[in-house]
Symmetry: C2
Subunit: 325 residues, 2 copies
C-alpha cells in the first residue's frame, strides 16, 4: 500500500516511447495493490485525446515467472467480455518490461470505485461478475497452483505455532482442530478452474450498482471453482469485524452468481465447508502478518479475529443459510 | 508519502454532493505531499464531461489554523495568473470541510510532471515561475511567520545536540560555527514577502520545458524574498548528493528569475549568505529526521550530508559563481 520503487518522471516518459501511448502529462504514485508499486499515468494518447494507464512495478511478493500466466489470463477474459484490465503490448508486442530495475507492465486503467459497505444490489452484481468470470475462464489453458491451498494453510499454521495464542488464547488449538476438520471434509472432486481467489470489494470497481472492473488478479490460480465463491462470500457478506452476517447480501450474492454461472448440487452441498476453508485461509494469512509485523509499523495490521468470527459462523451454517433457499 | 486516513469511496461520493462537481467515478489514494492524505478523484463533472480533483485530508503536520492563509494565498496568486492549484468552494462558499474526522479540502488538479534531473531550460522556467510568483504576491495581505527561520534553526540544532556526530564526526561543531556565522551575517533589511519556501523540483509541474503548476504551498510564509530564490537554488542546481554543482543550471535559474522579477543589488550581494542559510535549513531538518527516524522505518530518510556538501560549496562562492555574472 505504498510506492516502493520511485521512478523519475523522465524515465516513465522515456519508457512510454516504446508504446503507442503518447507523451506523459501526469504521473502519480498510488497507494494500492499487493505490495507492488503502482503509478496512475496520464498521457496525451496516441491521437492527442488523453489516455490513462496504470504502470505497475513488481516488487518481491509477485514472482516474475507468474506474470505470463496473469497476462494470458486477462487477455483470455478480456476477449470474452470480462471487464478486466489488460496488459498493454509495446510496438514490438512485448508486455513484460524492465523499469528502474524491476519487472514492469503498462496496464489498462478502468474507472469505477470500490465500495466499502456493499448493498445487496452491489453484492448481487459482484456475484454475477464472478459467475461471468468463471464462464469466461472455461477453455483457458494456463495453470497456476494455489500457494494458499490446504497444504499452504498447514504450512502457515506450523509457522505461527504457539504464537497464535498471543492473538487470542486458545487460537492455536482452534486452528489445529479446524485443519483436521477440513482434512477430513474438504471436497475431493468438485470442478476446478482458474479462480480469482481474492475478490474482495477492494478488487471490484463499480459505478452505482454496476461492475465496471475486476482487478488485482495476482492471487489467481487453479483451484476448486466454487471455493472462489466461498472467498467472495466471506469478503462481501459480513461486517468488517465478522460479527454480523448480512443474509440479504448473501442471498443476493448467490442469486447473482446463479444468474451467470450457478453451482452444481455437489458444490452447493460442499459450500459450508468451502466457506470454512476461505475463512481459515484469511485467518491464517492475517495471523501470520499480525505475528510478523511490529505493532508500530506503518502498515496497518488486519485483525485475524474478524475471520475467526466468520469461521465460527460458517461452522454452524448450512447452504441455505449461506446462499438462500 | 502515504495515505494515512482511509476514506471509503461512498463517503467521498457523498462529500462531493456539497460541490458542483458531479459524481465520483474514480478515487485513488496518492503517495504525495507533506504528511497529508491525498486522493486523486475523477468525477463526471458538473456537465458530464469528466473532471479531476485532488482531495486532501490534513494530518497532524499541517495546522488547521494555517489553512485560511494558504487558501487566500492561492486565490490571490491564481487570480494574478500564477498556475497554482486553487481550493474549491462548495455551493455555500465553504472551502474548508471535515471528512473522516479530518480537516479536508477539494483542490484543483493540475497536469504536469515533476522532473528529477532538471535541464538548464527547465531550471530557467522554474526561476521565471518563482519570479512571477513573487510579482503576483505583491499586495497579498496575509502573514505567516516562518517556523524554520534562523531562530527555528537554532532550536533544531539544540534538539539534535551531540547526536549530529552520529551522522558525521564533527558535524555538531560545524553547525554551531555556521549558526554563529549566519547570526553575524544574516541580512537585516532585505525586502520581505510571501515566499513558497520549498520550491523543489517535486513541487513544480512541467510539460517539457514549460511550467504547468507550482504546488505544495504548505511551507509558504513571510520571509526574506530572495531567500526563496536561495532555497530554489539549493534544490535545483546540484546533483542530489550535493557533490556536483551545475553552473549551467544556476545561470539559467538566475536568468529566469531576473526575467520575471530580479534581485536588487543588496539581495545579490547577500545571496551567498542566503544560500548558506538555505543549505543549513535543509541540513537541519534532514538531520533531525535522520536522528528521529529508525533506520528500518518505511519512510525513506534523506541524507543530511547532501546539504552539508551544498553548505561547503556556498561557503566558498560569490554571487557571480551562483547566479552568473
Amino acid at each position: 500500500m505504498a510506492v516502493y520503487t520511485q521512478v523519475p518522471a523522465e524515465e516513465i516518459d522515456a519508457f512510454l516511447t516504446r508504446y503507442d501511448a503518447g507523451r506523459l502529462v501526469s504521473a502519480k504514485g498510488i497507494a494500492e495493490g499487493v505490495e507492488n508499486s503502482n503509478y496512475l499515468l496520464e498521457t496525451t494518447g496516441a491521437d492527442g485525446s488523453g489516455h490513462r494507464y496504470i504502470l505497475t512495478l513488481y516488487e518481491k511478493r509477485v514472482d516474475e515467472a507468474d506474470l505470463p500466466f496473469f497476462m494470458d489470463l486477462l487477455d483470455h477474459l478480456g476477449a470474452r467480455g470480462c471487464l478486466v484490465p489488460r496488459f498493454i503490448a509495446d510496438r514490438s508486442g512485448q508486455r513484460l518490461q524492465q523499469l528502474a530495475g524491476r519487472p514492469a507492465c503498462l496496464i489498462e486503467f478502468l474507472t469505477g470505485i470500490s465500495v466499502t459497505e456493499p448493498t445487496p444490489a452491489q453484492t448481487r452484481a459482484a456475484g454475477a461478475a464472478l459467475g461471468e468470470l468463471h464462464r469466461a475462464a472455461e477453455g483457458f489453458a494456463g495453470k497456476r497452483p494455489n500457494a494458499l491451498d490446504k497444504a499452504g494453510w498447514h504450512d502457515l499454521a506450523r509457522k505461527c505455532g504457539a504464537d497464535f495464542d498471543q492473538i487470542a488464547p486458545g487460537l492455536a488449538a482452534r486452528v489445529t482442530e479446524e485443519l483436521a476438520y477440513l482434512d477430513a471434509h474438504w471436497p475431493a472432486d468438485l470442478p476446478r478452474s482458474v479462480i480469482h481467489a481474492d475478490l474482495f470489494p477492494d478488487n471490484v470497481l463499480m459505478l452505482g450498482d454496476r461492475v465496471t472492473g475486476l482487478i488485482d488478479f495476482y492471487f489467481s490460480c487453479t483451484d476448486v471453482r466454487a471455493y472462489d465463491l466461498a472467498i467472495t462470500h466471506s469478503a462481501w457478506t459480513f461486517s468488517h469485524d465478522g460479527a454480523t452476517f448480512f443474509g440479504d447480501r448473501a442471498k443476493a450474492l448467490g442469486a447473482g452468481y446463479a444468474q451467470a454461472h450457478g453451482l452444481t448440487d455437489a458444490e452447493r452441498a460442499a459450500f459450508p465447508v468451502l466457506c470454512r476453508g476461505a475463512a481459515l485461509r484469511f485467518l491464517l494469512t492475517r495471523a501470520y502478518d499480525w505475528i510478523n509485523t511490529p505493532a508500530d509499523a506503518l502498515v496497518t495490521r488486519k485483525d485475524p479475529l474478524a475471520y475467526l468470527r466468520r469461521l465460527d459462523f460458517y461452522a454452524n451454517a448450512d447452504a441455505a443459510d449461506l446462499l438462500g433457499a
